[in-house]
């Protein structure tokens, strides 16, 4: 079964600085998708960024970018120019031929 591991339960970053959240996964599939979801205190799950496994180019969405290392099964999220509104739980998720599998999340605090 596929598993997703987020090894950092909590992270903090100064406003305007850059932070990287780690995610590793385990799979034997070759075709799959990876996602980062943000859950602010409002508890709404918001899709931040997605990556297709067969694309070598790392996905970017404004201040959010990923470092996708397929061989290492690593999918980290980089947040640049961190803002107070970035404070949230961040979940890494995997989608292959199975239901969406989530990691346990990383709580990000942003310090003014």
């Amino acid at each position: 079964a596929q598993t997703v591991t987020q090894s950092q339960p909590e992270m903090s970053v100064q406003e305007a600085e850059t932070v990287t959240l780690s995610c590793t996964y385990d799979t034997s599939e070759s075709d799959y998708y990876l996602f980062w979801y943000k859950q602010p205190p409002s508890r709404q799950m918001i899709l931040v960024i997605r990556q297709e496994a067969y694309k070598q180019q790392n996905a970017t969405e404004n201040r959010f970018s990923v470092n996708f290392q397929k061989a290492a099964k690593s999918f980290s999220l980089k947040i640049s120019d961190s803002q107070l509104g970035d404070a949230a739980m961040y979940f890494c998720a995997y989608k292959g031929n199975t239901p969406l599998v989530f990691g346990k999340g990383t709580r990000l605090s942003v310090i003014a």
């Binding site: 996602f35 409002s42 508890r43 709404q44 799950m45 979940f91 989608k95 969406l100």
Partner: protein
Amino acid sequence: DTAVSQTPKYLVTQMGNDKSIKCEQNLGHDTMYWYKQDSKKFLKIMFSYNNKELIINETVPNRFSPKSPDKAHLNLHINSLELGDSAVYFCASSRLTTRGSGQYFGPGTRLTVT
């Protein structure tokens, strides 16, 4: 316009009661899901319906019964509520043939069983 909506957002009830949570999506998606998020924030899928047909049924007590009257709705009925059912329940939707587009989540329903 709300893409995926759930009602109610908060639900407080006593053990042994029966309750329902409703979900509706206006995205034209053909697949809908129910997830449970426990107190440690862990998200786990419970059910998935595609075109009103059950396609995923994870290990969930049979006190939980999903019902999909049409592609845009997936309701969750819970019988004989227990303390351990307290959690946040999320509805989500997607298009099955475009699994890379991700799932869109509702605002969640916080269920508290006393």
